[in-house]
Symmetry: C2
Subunit: 239 residues, 2 copies
């Protein structure tokens, strides 16, 4: 048998990975400034050029921000709506997106469905946390959503925490569980007429079902979410 080919990783990529993990683990929080390049170079025993290259890469990926003459900062927490928005349905879609107000309905326990376990890379019937919310726009109910999370990883999740973070789940995951959402994939279907989410919409509502997988900075799955939206009231916009 042939031996595996060795993998060489440039120094700056090692520094980059370290910084990424440190941010994920909350060593520096959102909007907090990182130590100077000089300090980091001294700490890692590498050249300032190597530190700069690692920081450049993280700035390019959006994890860090540079403020001219001030320093390098951890970018604000990922927002659940940074990749998408809801617009009023009659609207031409070019108006400012609506502010989405999620209202917590329940935060319980369950087992992973076939699709949820595929999406979260869990075994079938693995214990999960289920967060169900109602979505409102300008006070009007426009949809529901259910988030599925690995129960082992998010065991401490409870309604009090969700309220504490004003319903900003991705922010909560980062601050309380050291898991930073770095991107999402989405799937779209029209829900069949006989599909019944766990709460009722007015009869004959055309329902859009959005399925969204959020992954961490390494591309590993964090959350599997399904949203049902009444298309008579809102359109889902992907930027």
């Amino acid at each position: 048998m042939s031996s595996p080919r060795p993998v060489f990783q440039p120094l700056y990529l090692q520094v980059k990975r370290y910084l990424m993990e440190a941010v994920s683990a909350g060593e520096w929080l959102a909007d907090e400034s990182l130590p100077s390049e000089y300090t980091l170079a001294d700490r890692f025993q590498v050249s300032q050029g190597t530190v700069r290259k690692a920081l450049d890469a993280l700035v390019a990926e959006g994890l860090l921000l540079r403020r001219q003459g001030v320093g390098t900062f951890v970018a604000a927490w990922p927002d659940e709506w940074q990749w998408s928005a809801l617009c009023a349905s009659g609207d031409d879609g070019l108006a400012a997106p609506e502010r989405v107000e999620p209202e917590l309905l329940s935060c319980g326990r369950g087992v992973a469905s076939e699709r949820a376990s595929d999406m979260l890379q869990l075994r079938r019937n693995a214990p999960v946390r289920l967060v169900r919310r109602q979505l409102r726009v300008a006070g009007r109910m426009v949809g529901y959503e259910e988030s599925v999370l690995d129960a082992e990883r998010f065991d401490r999740l409870e309604p009090r925490l969700i309220k504490q973070y004003g319903g900003q789940m991705y922010r909560l995951y980062a601050a309380e569980f050291g898991v930073r959402v770095g991107g999402v994939q989405e799937w779209f279907v029209a829900a069949p007429a006989d599909e019944e989410p766990w709460l009722r919409f007015p009869e004959h509502s055309p329902l859009l079902r959005v399925m969204r997988r959020a992954c961490d900075l390494e591309g590993l799955p964090v959350e599997w979410r399904r949203m049902w939206l009444d298309s008579r009231l809102v359109q889902y916009r992907r930027l």
Copy 2:
């Protein structure tokens, strides 16, 4: 009245804009290599460093590609499915996306609807070209789409051209009209039960309506497209 503030643009941004326009205008085609930095610097009478900075920015934006030791190339034409894909509906969505085969139904003339004129920044009832196609996956009809284009800009568009480019519209726009699609925005709704696209789906099909605006490299609208997809057969995936 105060006089307008003068706008200074760094040299490299001027070079960048020139190169962008030259690529848009087809001076260099997809997969074609650009002249060397030295040659470009000589041609524009700027330093090689300035040329490199302009090329770096265009590489970062995805318009150009660098191949180590070979040179700088124009990235392949934008693909209509590079931002999205169709997956079989029963599927967990993680399988390889399906190959979409568009079949031309008509390529006619019309006037811009209210929404199309908003989206394309045309006046209401402006003359437009309408391209209607049927979408197939593995030989099976899964949906329809209609593309709306400014008739003045795309006057020469005809079925022969669409066939010549194998139905790759974005490639056609770039090669024949010098208009390169640089990004898309999308809106999603479930089509109401009584909505009737211009061709019939089987009764009671839950229809997903995807609305997509394609913009050029400057962010100006190029095409407004609506797709109707039978959610019993396919899911629309956004990457």
